[in-house]
């Protein structure tokens, strides 16, 4: 029962982060007049950041052993390979 022993992560603080990041995304998407490509990268970066916060703290991945983390990491390269390969198709 390891999970009981250690202190709980500051869940409300992470909620605040998520809230602020979402607000930042909205502002970025609709208010900031910057180049589209940069905007796209920033938005994706923010989305990944939020997703990581959820996975690491809410899903406790930060506190799991590496072999359990591997389970969720395995499909990710496959997903990337699929999308990248098919997109190169369109670029030629």
């Amino acid at each position: 029962m390891e999970s009981v022993q250690h202190k709980h992560p500051p869940y409300l603080l992470i909620w605040l982060y998520l809230f602020l990041l979402t607000a930042a995304e909205l502002g970025l998407a609709f208010q900031l007049p910057i180049a589209r490509n940069i905007k796209l990268l920033l938005l994706l970066g923010l989305a990944v950041w939020k997703a990581l916060l959820v996975a690491m703290f809410f899903m406790h991945l930060k506190f799991e052993r590496w072999n359990l983390r591997m389970l969720l990491i395995i499909p990710l390269p496959l997903a990337v390979i699929l999308v990248l390969a098919v997109i190169t198709e369109k670029i030629w």
């Binding site: 979402t22 998407a29 359990l68 389970l71």
Partner: protein, 223 residues
């Protein structure tokens, strides 16, 4: 005899263990790995189709109602927090707070589904269909004025409804299973400090659904 042990929060003994996780938790993680691939098929198709789309993709906010969905995003994030608070409560042995936080999660989740239904209703009313734009609708006028490019609207509708629809389906499944757990396990006080695997496992699923939405919200509504 065989099933008695699966809900307990320890790996089955005596056995060689690959990971330090009890069966239902491990099973849920494995299931989530396959869910990643399912959403890969949907989101990947969206990215690929958008790359090769004829005509300009509709700019964010023109077709979709972003403020409503931003509120919905907020709801889902809140439900994720309340879920993890419910888990933390029972891990500390607090039955009362478990009941409260679990109920908050269910309400937020159900509200999300409701808002999404509302959103769909309005989109269809405005003429936005999975197959594209309905003749003579509000969006058709925008197309006529040149605000929207019609060429890619068919793909826009296809991908939008499929991705958000399947996400909504997952949320609905989550809400239903949480309601079931609420009445069969949470209210009767069957979860304890030592045995609350159900809360953790349904929580994993719920956070995953939240995580998918975080990605979807950005790439569908904001980009």
């Amino acid at each position: 005899m065989t099933t008695a042990n699966t809900d307990a929060m320890r790996p089955p003994f005596p056995a060689e263990r690959g990971v330090d996780a009890y069966n239902t938790k491990l099973g849920m993680w494995v299931f989530l790995a396959s869910e990643v691939m399912f959403f890969t098929a949907l989101i990947g198709s969206y990215i690929i189709l958008r790359f090769g789309a004829p005509g300009e993709w509709a700019r964010p906010g023109v077709v979709l109602n972003v403020p409503v969905t931003a509120f919905n995003t907020f709801l889902l994030i809140c439900s994720s927090v309340s879920m993890v608070k419910a888990y933390a409560s029972i891990a500390d042995g607090d039955q009362r707070m478990l009941k409260i936080w679990f109920l908050v999660t269910i309400i937020c989740g159900a509200a999300f589904v409701g808002v999404q239904g509302f959103e769909y209703y309005h989109l269809i009313h405005r003429g936005f269909l999975p197959s594209g734009v309905r003749e003579g609708s509000e969006l058709a006028e925008l197309v006529a004025k040149g605000t929207l490019s019609e060429a890619s609207l068919g793909l826009y509708g296809s991908t939008f409804y499929t991705m958000t629809g399947f996400h909504g389906f997952h949320v609905t499944c989550g809400v239903i299973s949480m309601i079931y757990l609420y009445f069969t396990k949470v209210l009767p006080g069957k979860y304890t400090q030592q045995n609350h695997g159900g809360v953790e496992v349904v929580g994993l699923y719920w956070h995953f659904v939240d995580l998918v939405w975080i990605i979807l919200f950005t790439i569908v509504y904001l980009i």
